[in-house]
């Protein structure tokens, strides 16, 4: 008898064991996405490799590395810090020219009057082309200056060196930069803990910009709170983590990334005050949600933003590209590091080229161009239409994505939203449930419940009357019995 009970209990305990293989889902190398429960689920890639920009397209000039990419209306600029060049392609991917020595308006090379040497790029790391000002900005990192050229003729315009009124201790080594429509330059200096440097159009210092909050350890906080001032002086200071890249959208809002492990947020969208106003309705925007070790998290090296709020983040750890929509929900994860066409080893920059993406690799000295797949096209179209308020076409595009990729969770909500706008509540409820959107489900359910009560109002009345009648009758009977 006892053995029998022991066997039953052992059997029950065995039933509590979790099914094996739960972690197998997290080993996808690429082409996956995260669902509501942060599980990795398979997904179609939103982008596929089409072609590569490399030395082969440039005649005798070599391209040893690509550190930054900027796409203007009609040109692509690639920065090569090894050869110290800025290479320019047109939008048909034809090589136009390569800038190393800078010419003045007479067609002669510019000479520095102090040192009597030619003005030559020295390990530049960043480039920006301002369509509004028609100026080309090159962050000449090795020489600690920013060189401004004319956008049409590539003629030397001016040099911006370290502003005299700039406070702070970090050396002025501009690495990445963006310029807004008024000509204000925002510069990222690698390893600087003061923030993004903002420089006026005339080259004077304006301010440090952007708040990158460090994560505070509870134990550290406790010890700091009870330490005396003398002790505090000897403790290691916590510095604000540095930004490593910066981008600007069509409205002039500045986006930035950091991969410092001590940073609280990884991706920033700054308002004018320098606060992070990135919308995150989904999972936190940190790339991969699961990693095996502390060193394994996604390190974002660059961000590319579209006019309709979709942004792509480039991850150095795994060579992946993470696509998020305006509301911070993950759309797609594709690409990986490796040796296949389009794969990267040391990715440095990402930029939108129309609806295509350019991903640059420093180690191979190439820039890969990716075009949206059929699924990607539908997904981008849906976000575009949704942000512009075209609900019906957005709903249709979301339907298209679902036809191809049933794991695309945002689309269920998107389709449901369209049904909700058309007052088709039952369909909306069905899709919101699939999309795990409790917020919208609640809205649709409120309407559905109202309709239900209106249509079945007679039954509510009947049951109320019956209940009241039963109560009255029992009172009456009780009173008659007990006088």
């Amino acid at each position: 008898m006892r053995d029998k009970w022991a066997a039953v209990i052992a059997f029950i305990l065995c039933l509590t064991l979790q099914p094996a293989g739960a972690y197998a889902a997290n080993t996808f190398e690429s082409n996956y996405t995260y669902d509501y429960w942060a599980d990795a689920v398979r997904s179609l890639p939103a982008f596929e490799w089409v072609t590569t920009l490399d030395s082969g397209k440039m005649g005798k000039i070599k391209m040893e590395s690509v550190d930054d990419v900027y796409v203007s209306k009609d040109r692509i600029f690639l920065v090569d810090s090894v050869e110290s060049r800025v290479n320019v392609f047109d939008s048909d991917l034809r090589f136009l020219l390569s800038i190393k020595l800078v010419k003045n308006e007479h067609g002669k090379f510019v000479v520095d009057p102090e040192t009597n040497k030619q003005l030559m790029l020295n390990q530049p790391e960043g480039v920006f082309y301002s369509d509004a000002l028609e100026e080309l900005y090159i962050a000449d990192t090795g020489a600690e200056r920013i060189i401004v050229l004319d956008g049409k003729t590539y003629v030397y315009k001016r040099t911006i060196e370290k502003p005299e009124n700039m406070p702070g201790v970090t050396p002025f080594k501009p690495s990445k930069l963006v310029v807004n429509k008024e000509g204000k330059i925002s510069v990222v200096v690698q390893g600087s803990y003061e923030g993004i440097v903002e420089i006026n159009r005339d080259g004077s210092f304006f301010r440090y910009f952007g708040l990158n909050k460090p994560r505070v350890n509870v134990a550290d906080y406790f010890w700091k709170s009870i330490a005396t001032n003398q002790q505090k002086e000897k403790m290691k200071k916590i510095f604000a983590p540095s930004f490593n890249n910066v981008s600007i959208d069509s409205e002039g809002l500045i986006y930035a990334t950091t991969f410092d492990s001590s940073a609280k947020d990884r991706v920033f969208r700054f308002n004018a005050k320098g606060e992070n106003v990135l919308i995150t309705y989904g999972w936190p925007v940190i790339g991969d949600l699961h990693y095996m070790s502390e060193q394994d998290y996604s390190r974002f090296v660059d961000i590319a933003v579209t006019d309709y709020g979709v942004y792509a983040l480039l991850d150095k750890t795994r060579g992946r590209v993470f696509l998020y929509n305006f509301e911070g929900e993950i759309m797609n994860i594709f690409n990986s590091s490796g040796n296949l066409k389009g794969n990267v080893r040391n990715p440095t920059a990402i930029a939108w080229f129309g609806d295509k993406l350019i991903v640059a690799d420093k180690q191979f000295g190439v820039a890969h161009i990716f075009q949206p797949t059929e699924f990607g096209q539908a997904a981008l179209e849906a976000e575009k239409q949704y942000l512009n308020g075209n609900w019906e076409s957005a709903g249709k595009a979301y339907q298209d994505t679902l036809a191809q990729n049933a794991n695309y969770e945002i689309a269920y909500t998107g389709v449901g939203r369209n049904y909700l706008m058309q007052d088709l509540y039952e369909e909306a409820l069905y899709y919101f449930k699939l999309g795990n959107s409790r917020h919208y489900y609640s809205k649709a359910f409120a309407e559905y419940r109202n309709l239900f009560i209106q249509q079945h109002f007679i039954w509510f009345v009947v049951s109320f009357v019956l209940l009241a009648g039963a109560l009255l009758y029992s009172e009456y009977r009780y009173n008659r019995k007990h006088g």
Binding site: I12, L15, T16, Q18, W37, K433, R438, H439, Y441, S442, K443, F445, A446, R449
Partner: protein, 207 residues
């Protein structure tokens, strides 16, 4: 069977008259564990039901990963842990309640909580997000009732003054933590020992 019916009727008397009810349960009435055990089982099943059938708006559980046996055990685990810790403490604090007394008190006190939780589960399918606060308030009635019954019941069966009862409750909470800690320690060490034996075995066989 008629005895069980009487017990069932008496249970509802206890819910509204905890002091008298638990006193009679301990001293006057014949002890029967059928109804308490049934309540405990229903409580475990309610845990499973709550996981699956709570309305979508409040239900964030991954239903595809549901394991009803685990749910059943994890729902009952805190009550059984409290049963053991409270009994082990009150024996030291001169409590007169036996393990059986505490078991009956816990299970009878669970009845209102069970009813309100199950009703809340049904209502959760009819509400929207703005009304969740109301639902939580409704379920809180059951929980408060449960706490009140448990407190009265323990006072009665252990023959404690309220203050002593509070002290023993605090201490039994601490002891519950210690029990969990010790059992985890025990199982980890056991695992390590088995791991060691396993390694030695592999080492010997693969030589």
């Amino acid at each position: 069977m008629s005895g069980m019916m009487a017990d069932g009727k008496y249970m509802f008397y206890v819910l509204f008259h905890p002091f008298e009810g638990f006193y009679d349960l301990k001293f006057a009435r014949k002890r029967n564990y059928t109804i308490p055990t049934v309540i405990m089982l229903i409580c475990g099943v309610a845990g499973i039901l709550g996981y699956q059938y709570t309305g979508f708006i409040l239900n964030r559980n991954p239903l595809f990963a549901m394991n009803s046996i685990t749910l059943f055990l994890t729902t009952l685990f805190p009550y059984l842990l409290f049963l053991i810790s409270n009994w082990s403490i009150t024996t030291l604090f001169d409590g007169n309640g036996t393990m059986g007394d505490i078991y009956i008190v816990i299970s009878y006190s669970l009845v209102p909580k069970l009813i309100f939780d199950l009703a809340g589960m049904i209502f959760s399918n009819m509400i929207i997000q703005e009304e969740t606060a109301l639902l939580h308030a409704f379920e809180a009635i059951g929980t408060v009732w449960f706490c009140f019954l448990l407190f009265c019941g323990l006072c009665v069966v252990h023959e404690y003054k309220p203050l002593t009862n509070v002290v023993t409750l605090v201490v039994s909470f601490c002891s519950a933590v210690i029990i969990v800690f010790l059992s985890m320690l025990y199982f980890t060490l056991l695992g390590k020992v088995f791991g060691f034996i396993h390694t030695v075995f592999i080492e010997l066989t693969k030589r």
